[in-house]
């Protein structure tokens, strides 16, 4: 009795899922006579898998009425079904449409933009280089302003530094919370805020990057501080040094190299972010790119894309080299 109830549930479930799948893959077919021809074998296949694996939603439902704990294969099956359902649901929600991807109209559009991008218009190059310099310096200034701030904040944000009772503990928790909120807001949102505050341009972009960089670097720095070898701390404390001296002579020397490495990597990230921030009024190459994209001048856009790729790639390689050498 119970087993047949389980079969029935599995069959119904299989029917639902396979008709959903059919709807997604070939929407024109639903309601046509060909639909049952596909749905019925899929349902049977579904049922067969459930039977052979002895692990099905039906069995799960039935066995949950028993006192016996769930067998492992049922649990595994649950996970498997949840995974498959998420893919199906995700497909529907994100409007994935292979038809549009491969339609002749779509392919024509792709051909047009790729053609334009691959035949760049180099007249725009002087302006592009100027804008690129702005972007690189926006990122550099943001990093330089953020580093001393992050350095100072990283000590009160490190658990092993803030050990002096309830007040210090509170400062630590509050600071961590504020930094987490600052970091959760993407720089592009900060750029929108600052472009209203100080007006559109590289300064707004720089401020947005400063906020995000301070939040990220402080976290990285303070985690490094929490990770230092405690031995030198004990040794310096034992000489009668005060707290500031212990931090300066026992903690900082252990952190200098990792701090440098994080900072260089952050500058590299900031150049990429400065480009994106330009889209919403942060100045530099990003702003130039949105202007040409708005005018549908894709040959110029092609030049800008090539330039951005080159700069990002060069910086990526260079910063990796420098960080390697620092180890």
């Amino acid at each position: 009795m119970k087993t047949s109830l389980a079969f029935l549930l599995d069959a119904l479930l299989g029917l639902c899922v396979s008709s959903m799948l059919l709807q997604i893959i070939i929407p024109e077919l639903t309601g046509l006579s060909i639909a049952p021809v596909i749905i019925i074998p899929t349902t049977i296949l579904w049922l067969a898998i459930a039977l052979l694996r002895k692990a099905s939603i039906g069995l799960l439902f039935v066995s949950s009425k028993n006192e016996r704990p769930l067998p492992n294969n049922v649990r595994a099956h649950m996970g498997w079904i949840a995974f498959c359902t998420s893919i199906v649901a995700g497909w529907i929600v994100t409007d994935i449409s292979p038809v549009e991807f491969f339609s002749s109209e779509g392919l024509q559009g792709a051909g047009r933009i790729f053609g334009a991008l691959l035949t760049p218009e180099f007249d725009v190059l002087p302006a592009a280089l100027d804008a690129m310099v702005v972007t690189i310096f926006t990122a550099l200034m943001a990093t330089i302003v953020a580093v001393p701030l992050s350095f100072l904040l990283s000590f009160p944000a490190a658990r092993n530094v803030m050990t002096g009772g309830a007040i210090e503990r509170t400062i630590y928790v509050l600071l961590r919370a504020v930094l987490n909120i600052m970091r959760s807001m993407e720089p592009i949102i900060w750029a929108i805020i600052f472009s209203v505050w100080v007006g559109i341009g590289p300064f707004a972009g720089m401020l947005a990057l400063v906020v995000h960089t301070v939040a990220s670097l402080t976290k990285q720095y303070s985690e490094q501080i929490e990770d230092v070898d405690q031995g030198p701390l004990e040794a310096i404390s034992a000489t009668g040094a005060n707290r500031l001296q212990v931090l300066w002579f026992a903690v900082v020397p252990q952190c200098v190299i990792p701090f440098l490495s994080f900072t260089i990597y952050r500058w590299d990230i900031n150049v990429r972010m400065a480009t994106i921030i330009g889209f919403v009024g942060g100045g530099g190459i990003g702003t130039l790119l949105t202007q040409y994209q708005g005018l549908a001048k894709y040959n110029e856009v092609g030049t800008l894309v090539i330039l951005i790729t080159l700069v990002v790639w060069t910086l990526d390689v260079a910063s990796a080299r420098v960080r390697e050498a620092l180890r």
């Binding site: 030198p232 040794a235 034992a238 005060n242």
Partner: protein
């Protein structure tokens, strides 16, 4: 008056583990006191209570008759700066030079500003150089501390402790990560400092052969209790088994 007197000292860690139970002993100036006991018997905790790297839960510590159990801030720092300490893992500042590491021994008596800006006095530099002379590595002053061998690093650590011009030197397993030959050389330096400079030494050790060779007096801890207090030659086989357990066998390092 004894240099150091420890009365009814107990320590319980925040997790509830009681490392020391009611430990009392005295140390006269000029002694070379060795603390023995199994790993986890409370030796390191006891040593760290003496310079308050670990806060005693109960009991009192007197140095030259002065109660230092609850002093804080400036008095705590001056208490610490009068006591040198060396460690099993040397605990030097890597990447910094040998000379800098020795100068850091003077941090307790140097103002924050002048130390952070690196303005140590010529007199302090001279003292650092002569401390390095005592441990025989004056030629390494400009080397990076982490480029030295283990034995050399421990000698720099001793020089850093000497820089404090301490009346008492604490040594926490000073030779536990060194090979036997280097161990003897490091212990010889400690002995020389004890005999020539008159510095009192309190040292945690594992090897009884080293204890018999260097100690003027021995105390033994077992499970946080003080179970032996006497001359090294008085540690009979029976005492040995009491301290280290029935299964223990004595191993020699020469």
């Amino acid at each position: 008056m004894p240099l150091l007197s420890v009365k009814n000292l107990s320590h319980t860690y925040p997790n509830g583990y009681q490392a020391l139970h009611d430990v009392s002993f005295e140390v006269e100036a000029g002694e070379f006191l060795v603390i023995i006991g199994l790993s986890g018997s409370g030796k390191s905790t006891l040593l760290r209570c003496l310079n308050r790297l670990v806060e005693p839960t109960e009991g009192t510590i007197l140095v030259n008759g002065q109660d230092v159990t609850h002093v804080s801030d400036a008095s705590l720092r001056s208490h610490r700066s009068g006591i040198g300490m060396i460690f099993q893992h040397f605990n030097l500042i890597p990447r910094h030079t040998v000379l800098s590491n020795v100068l850091y021994g003077a941090l307790g008596t140097t103002s924050t500003m002048s130390s952070i800006t690196g303005r140590f006095t010529d007199q302090q530099r001279q003292r650092a150089l002569s401390a390095l002379e005592v441990v025989g590595i004056r030629d390494k002053v400009e080397n990076r501390a982490d480029a030295l061998s283990g034995g050399q690093q421990q000698r720099v650590a001793i020089a850093r402790a000497l820089m404090q011009q301490p009346q008492l030197l604490l040594a926490d397993e000073p030779v536990a990560s060194l090979d036997p030959a280097t161990s003897h050389s490091v212990m010889d330096y400690l002995e020389r400092i004890n005999k020539d400079l008159g510095t009192t030494v309190i040292c945690n050790l594992h090897f009884l052969s080293l204890v018999r060779r260097y100690a003027t007096r021995v105390i033994a801890l077992k499970g946080g209790h003080l179970v032996f207090n006497g001359k090294p030659e008085d540690i009979s086989d029976e005492w040995f088994r009491t301290i280290y357990g029935e299964e223990a066998m004595e191993v020699d390092i020469r």
